[in-house]
């Protein structure tokens, strides 16, 4: 088919990249959509030369989730693997089993889901189970070879940190990563959703939870006493955290612990009781 560009898995130099995709939710209307960061993860995989992107979703296929899942297929890939999981299931064991079978070199996913629990813990738990290194807040993958990858991690205010990671590894994508390409209706409609059965482990803990809409938390007002546009800009672009602090290098654990303790007391997090 002319309309999609994924490299064939038969290609021997291809690096298998698994992309974990969830059903997103629009912040204003709550309508299902491709999750912003997951879509960026897929974009990163599709833009990677020699990558054989494997799309994976663990969840249910229904009228609500299908358009959202298909919108990932609208970005070009022809197939998505759908690991069947009921609503209250913990998708972690099923994902782990499938990923072990698949054996990718890289797993890409967003930092946290837009709907549901959205704790952002899944990548960490998954990396722990697989015993793989995890890099969070990815902005770009610079290069990948057979055994390692060079990546850029996004830090606040546009700073980047270059990291080298041994493969296989799990990478979570930051909103600083390139925007996902447009999803096209035709390929989205034609793409295959390959359903796979997987063991189900219900999330029993969740049953006891009470869920309610999040309240908007009050925000501290930033009072800016600037008189000129330049001052206002500087104030807006200034670091939000306090200056000062110190970098401790080559010190013993006890010295480090003392430093942390001292800071916590200074900040009033810990009180000197006696």
């Amino acid at each position: 088919m002319l309309l999609s560009t994924p490299r064939s898995s038969a290609d021997k130099t291809a690096i298998k990249v698994a992309v974990l995709l969830s059903v997103g939710s629009h912040p204003l209307t709550g309508r299902g959509r491709r999750a912003e960061q997951d879509a960026r993860a897929l974009e990163m995989a599709l833009a990677l030369p020699q990558a054989d992107a494997q799309l994976i979703h663990a969840g249910r296929l229904n009228d609500e989730s299908e358009p959202a899942l298909r919108s990932y297929l609208g970005m070009g890939p022809q197939q998505m693997t759908l690991i069947q999981q009921p609503k209250q299931a913990d998708v972690l064991p099923a994902l782990e089993k499938h990923l072990r079978q698949l054996g990718p070199k890289l797993i890409l996913c967003g930092s946290r889901a837009e709907a549901g629990e959205g704790s952002g813990l899944l990548p960490y738990l998954l990396a722990e189970k697989l015993g793989w290194p995890l890099i969070s807040g990815l902005a770009a993958i610079e290069s990948v070879d057979g055994s390692s990858a060079t990546v850029l991690q996004a830090l606040p205010r546009g700073q980047r940190r270059r990291l080298r990671v041994k493969l296989p590894a799990l990478l979570t994508i930051d909103s600083a990563a390139p925007v996902a390409r447009q999803s096209a209706f035709g390929p989205a409609r034609r793409g295959q959703l390959a359903e796979v059965d997987a063991p189900v482990q219900m999330d029993t803990e969740q049953e006891g939870w009470e869920v309610q809409p999040a309240r908007k938390r009050p925000k501290r007002l930033k009072i800016i006493k600037a008189t000129s546009a330049r001052d206002r800009f500087k104030a807006a672009a200034a670091k939000s955290e306090g200056s000062g602090g110190q970098v401790l290098k080559d010190i013993t654990a006890a010295e480090g612990a003392d430093a942390v303790l001292k800071l916590l007391m200074e900040e009033g997090v810990l009180r000197v009781s006696s």
């Binding site: 309309l3 629009h26 204003l28 209307t29 309508r31 959509r33 609208g74 970005m75 070009g76 390409r181 447009q182 999803s183 096209a184 209706f185 035709g186 390929p187 409609r189 034609r190």
Partner: protein, 653 residues
């Protein structure tokens, strides 16, 4: 000797022309099927040619008269030449008639030649420069060889030298006029043009009708390619239409994108489609190129993609995205070619299959899908502008006389002023109206022009379902784009409504003496026709009537009415934002300044936004609703509001 040579030449040329015609028809038949009645079309063709086509050609009376003389002379001369010289019918009357026909054709050809002495830049050169000479050769040759048959000169006059000379002229004339007609010379326009008129995809256009709504795309078959990827994906009669182009360049002369230096020239686009259907490169094109794109770098064939994913194919994507869908080219085209349909067809492929809507296109489409408005605003905020107006909402009142369709301008602070003004006018006239409020969605106009037919149909179907819940007599809107889509494009999806533009509605209120207006005290005023109100819907008069009612004498721009120049805001052009040498609204503001007007009256939120985007100092921009609201004499209805209001409501109930 001529008695033998002439029939051979004539019938040989005719036979070759038939072969060429079969070949050309097979090229058109590469296209997709299109349901038109072949016989009824052929029967309607002469009338479409003589009335509808010449109505457009007649806007340029020089070439109109020239064409009547030349084409009329040629058709008569061709038929008579076949009778007199091909079949050797001995008839003085026929011979004299042939003399008259060739004379008319020759005179016409002289005027064609004169137009070609210093041709305007919009005309294509190349083979078209040869055409007047070929016309003269044909008419002169047949005039001279008919003289003996008419009894003016003796047979065998001039000996074999003259005979040979005449035969050479006849060969030239027949070559251009018969052979060239179907093998791709300039005369191809006559053959393809006649059939194009007969089998036009929009038969409703003829006989004074109007057909401007885009054709829906069938989304039922998941395996079908959506939109036009290759020239062969057009319908066969669209391909035929491209082939009918005479390269007169009237489209080029009125195209706002071309004038702004954006890489679009409607004439070149149609010629590129001709290259595409026959296969080859654009190197032989002899007209103005797309601004900034040299000729000769693009090529294609009927079964290759028109827009390449990388590199160059037949047309570059930015050419297609430069169009504002203002329909000026379609309005001017004497051959009734549908440029906008073709452009939207190709955009559909780029958006629906490739996901390559440029610049903000993807974001706008995502917003439309997620929030039902292009700006990505919360759908629950649609009525915020009217928080203090206490507008009746249909969800509560269920039925009303007039449904006020807000459009996405409800989210725009500038357009909110227009909407508030129009509400004031409606209230002053005592109209029983209501709004859909937050239940309203984008009409789908922008999605459709950006090629996203799927989102358009989704929005349209949901809007139609919402409208079906309530009872109202008519819809009125301040947005000509919503107006056009509701009126002309919802019908094929099952939504038939009586829709008015607010200027038409205010005009009617004034006629019915429901408005009490004070006279205009400001300066000179001009009026800018929105494309989607004017060319798309033929409403030129109502806005002017309202302005007259205000006591304003409109200082017309040179390009007004059906020739109005686009503001640059249509067809998603501000979203795809293809760079050019200048901005379209700046050019339009120049048009406005030329009238010396201090204020330009508009009737469209897009036009307002585009024109107000021109840097000051510039004439003020006011919507007609604002002008009317300002001129309302409110004391009158304050005095007898209690007495009058029930009466009005009774009259409308």
């Amino acid at each position: 000797m001529l008695n033998i040579i002439l029939p051979v030449l004539i019938f040989a040329a005719l036979a070759l022309a038939v072969v060429g015609a079969v070949r050309r028809i097979s090229l058109w038949r590469q296209g997709r099927p299109s349901p038109v009645s072949l016989l009824a079309g052929l029967a309607a063709m002469p009338r479409r040619y003589l009335v509808d086509l010449h109505h457009v050609v007649g806007r340029d009376s020089y070439i109109s008269n020239t064409h009547v003389a030349t084409a009329g002379g040629f058709v008569a001369a061709a038929v008579l030449a076949i009778l007199v010289h091909g079949l050797q019918l001995e008839s003085r009357i026929l011979a004299w008639a042939l003399l008259a026909a060739t004379t008319s054709m020759f005179v016409g050809a002289l005027f064609v030649a004169k137009r070609r002495v210093n041709p305007p830049s919009r005309l294509s050169k190349g083979p078209w420069m040869r055409l007047p000479k070929s016309l003269m050769a044909f008419s002169l040759a047949f005039f001279l060889i008919t003289l003996p048959a008419a009894g003016i000169l003796p047979h065998g006059f001039g000996g074999w030298v003259l005979a040979l000379l005449l035969v050479a002229l006849v060969v030239w004339g027949l070559g251009e006029m018969f052979f060239g007609m179907t093998w791709g010379g300039p005369m191809k326009h006559a053959f393809a043009g006649a059939l194009h008129l007969a089998w036009h995809r929009r038969a409703e256009r003829f006989g004074g009708g109007r057909s401007t709504g885009l054709k829906p795309l069938n989304l039922d078959d998941p395996n079908a390619t959506l939109g036009v990827e290759k020239p062969a994906d057009f319908t066969w009669n669209q391909l035929l239409g491209f082939d009918a182009c005479v390269q007169c360049g009237r489209c080029e002369a009125v195209c706002p994108a071309f004038a702004a230096g954006q890489p679009l020239n409607p004439k070149k686009l149609i010629q590129d489609m001709v290259v595409g259907l026959a296969g080859g490169s654009d190197a032989h094109y002899a007209g103005s190129p797309y601004p900034g794109k040299p000729v000769g770098e693009h090529q294609g064939d009927a079964h290759s993609p028109i827009v390449a994913r990388e590199g160059k194919a037949l047309v570059d994507a930015e050419t297609l995205w430069s169009c504002t869908t203002c329909r000026a080219c379609v309005e001017e085209c004497p051959m009734m070619i549908e440029h906008v349909d073709a452009i939207v067809d190709m955009r559909r492929f780029l958006t629906l299959e490739r996901g390559e809507t440029p610049n903000k296109g993807a974001e706008v489409i995502d917003n439309l899908i997620a929030t039902d408005n292009p700006g990505g605003f919360a759908p629950t905020a649609r009525m915020n502008w009217a928080a203090d107006l206490n507008l009746p909402v249909l969800a509560e009142v269920k039925r009303t006389d007039v449904l006020l369709w807000l459009g996405d301008g409800a989210f725009d602070m500038r357009n909110q002023r227009t909407l508030r003004a129009f509400v004031k006018v409606l209230r002053a006239a005592g109209i029983n109206f209501a709004v859909l409020g937050n239940e309203e969605r984008d009409s789908g106009d922008v999605a459709r022009r950006l090629g996203d037919e799927a989102t358009f149909q989704s929005l349209a179907r949901r809007n139609i379902a919402t409208l079906a819940k309530y009872s109202f007599r008519s819809i009125v809107t301040c947005d000509p784009h919503s107006f056009h889509v509701l009126k002309n494009e919802y019908g094929e999806l099952g939504g038939e409504y009586v829709v008015h533009h607010h200027t038409t509605f205010i005009g009617k209120l004034h006629e019915d003496k429901k408005l009490n207006l004070r006279g205009w005290k400001g300066g000179k005023v001009t009026y800018h026709d929105p494309c989607y109100l004017g060319r798309y819907n033929g409403e030129y008069e109502a806005p002017r009537a309202v302005l007259r009612a205000l006591g304003i004498e409109v200082a017309e721009m040179e390009r007004s009415g059906f020739r109005s120049r686009c503001c640059g805001g249509g067809g998603g052009a501000p979203i795809t934002d293809i760079p050019g040498k200048q901005r379209i609204p700046d050019m339009r503001m120049e048009d406005i300044r030329e009238t010396g007007a201090e204020l330009v009256a508009v009737g469209c939120p897009q036009c307002t936004a585009m024109l107000e985007g021109v840097v000051e100092p510039r004439p003020e921009i006011r919507d007609i609703a604002e002008l009317v609201a300002d001129a309302l004499i409110e004391q009158a209805d304050a005095v007898d509001a209690t007495a009058k209001k029930p009466q009005v409501e009774e009259a409308l109930a």
